[in-house]
Amino acid sequence: MPRGLLARLAMIPLIVFGVVTILFLIFKAVPGDEATMVAGATATQAEIDNVRVQLGLDRPLMAQYLGHVAGLAHGDFGYSTTFRGNPLPYILARLPATLLLTASAIALTILVGIPAGVGAASLQNRWPDLAISGVVVAFLAVPNFWLGMMLIAVFSVGLHWLPSFGLHGPASLVMPTLALAARLIAIIARLTRGLVIEEMRKDYVRTARAKGLSMRQALWRHVLRNALIPAITAIGLEAGYLLGGSVVIERLFAWPGIGDLLLNAIGNRDYTLVQGITVLFVLGFLLINMIVDFLFVLVNPRLRHA
């Protein structure tokens, strides 16, 4: 494994630590007394004081912060009012649904976005290219949740083909994946088109053509390898959109993931849970980028021995 990759792996705990610190400070600044919120509206002053001592909220801020970080390192996310304790097991129980949704959106993007971009580039300025460009412009403008609602209106309400909510079998994955992936498909198709066109103009393509390869052969044997690497990397950079978008899509489709849990946590003012889920989102973002970097090195021999 090259050194650059190892160095980035080593950065992950540092980044997570930094984000945890920022979140801690932000949520400490929220107006309102935490102990009062945890104890509930009907609690007496004695009960509130009891909660304050139990949760360590009577300690100085610095001590609370160190306790918070130490707790996180041991998998203790703090006291969640929703779950009356450490929310981690409940968050983890919801994680697979979110992973499934984002992974299938990435898969769909690779399966549709990249071929669309390559197709558009090789038929540049002919009607398939213009059609693909039109779809790209539309997908970049349409809000993902509205696309999801339109899909529900057509395929659930109108045609009764697909379930409109929940996670029950592969059919229920179709519409949430489409709604979430549309924007990413558009971004990747547009980028791939540009990369392929740029690569086609390079000297080695002319050499290949001079040797007698057809345009199609040059594209498949030489151009794609070079053009697709940055396209794959871009998927990693858009991981933030994917994770953020999943929150909205999960709510729309009543999808049992952590995005839906995050919105419940905000509704209940359960800031421990909000912080915990946000940290997991950041971890997810970093991990997706790690995987992309790893693939990048794997498919790019120039970097393998760097």
């Binding site: 932000i26 809000p143 547009r190 980028l191 959109y241 973002f285």
Partner: protein, 282 residues
């Protein structure tokens, strides 16, 4: 290179491209509607008609009525002003903050740059939508909360972009020339660096405005944005969600309005990019 003003750096270059024309035209229409929406709306956007609940599109109600019998077209027209405000105010604020951070951290390398860059990099690891949701949760689910949330979640990417551009410009000969003839740093920044970064900033602000519309409407949809009965498009869709089964027409008009406005900002941004930055043309 002679001293440039921001205006002169924008004024040069060739004819207007199609995306630029379409984007500007659409935005002009949206601006006009947001100015005189209440005047041209056929109905009062809050007037209820209990005899026409969830009525499908007709001659009287082009896009139908909602669950309280309110005219959807009127609500969309009047709501334009809300969305334009929520898109433009944060982009303006984020523009000021992002330019300041980017200029300072890009031009004065060193400890300050490392702190700003580190902070920006940290914020960039939090998905923008998640950051916006968390901020709205703290500040409040209303227009002010939305504006704060969208502003703060737009600053990191903008600051990073401008910093990168400034670092490129700092190496230009005319910048070293300006310094060597004794121009003050502030003057170099404002007279040479900023005008040359202006096109990049404008392009990005336009694209960010489109993003702002998407984030604002998503938060409205989730019930974390502008609250009903205000005719905010996202909130209209959030309420309409419950009626898809019986009256799918309620979700059509607000969605089209959002998509067209985002399209307008995207076109403007792409058009500006083609015009000022031929290297980036795709």
């Amino acid at each position: 290179m002679p001293e440039m003003t921001i205006a002169s750096s924008i004024r040069r270059r060739a004819p207007i491209s199609r995306p630029l024309a379409i984007g500007s035209f659409l935005l002009a229409i949206f601006a006009a509607i947001s100015l005189c929406g209440p005047a041209i709306a056929p109905y009062d956007p809050t007037a209820q008609d209990l005899l026409a609940l969830l009525a499908p599109p007709s001659g009287a109600h082009w896009f139908g009525t909602d669950e309280l019998g309110r005219d959807i077209l009127s609500r969309v027209l009047v709501g334009t002003r809300i969305t334009m405000m929520i898109a433009l105010v944060p982009v303006l604020l984020a523009g000021i903050a992002g330019v300041a951070l980017g200029l300072v951290s890009g031009y004065f390398a060193g400890a300050l740059d490392r702190i700003v860059t580190g902070f920006v990099d940290l914020l960039m690891t939090i998905p923008g939508m998640v950051l916006a949701i968390a901020i709205v949760a703290i500040v409040g689910a209303n227009a002010v909360g939305l504006i704060v949330a969208i502003t703060l979640s737009s600053i990191p990417s903008l600051a990073r972009l401008i910093r990168g551009r400034v670092r490129e410009l700092r190496e230009e000969d005319y910048v070293s020339a300006a310094i060597s003839v004794g121009m003050s740093r502030a003057r170099v920044l404002l007279r040479h660096v900023l005008p040359n970064a202006a096109s990049v900033i404008l392009i990005q602000l336009s694209l960010l405005a489109g993003q702002a519309v998407l984030i604002a409407s998503a938060l409205g949809f989730l019930g974390l944005g502008v609250q009903p009965p205000a005719p905010e498009w996202g909130a209209m869709l959030g309420t309409g969600r419950q009626y898809i089964e019986v009256a799918p027409h309620v979700i059509v008009a607000p969605g089209i309005a959002i998509a067209l406005l985002v399209l307008a900002f995207n076109m403007l941004g792409d058009g500006l990019r083609d015009r000022f930055d031929p290297n980036l043309m795709r």
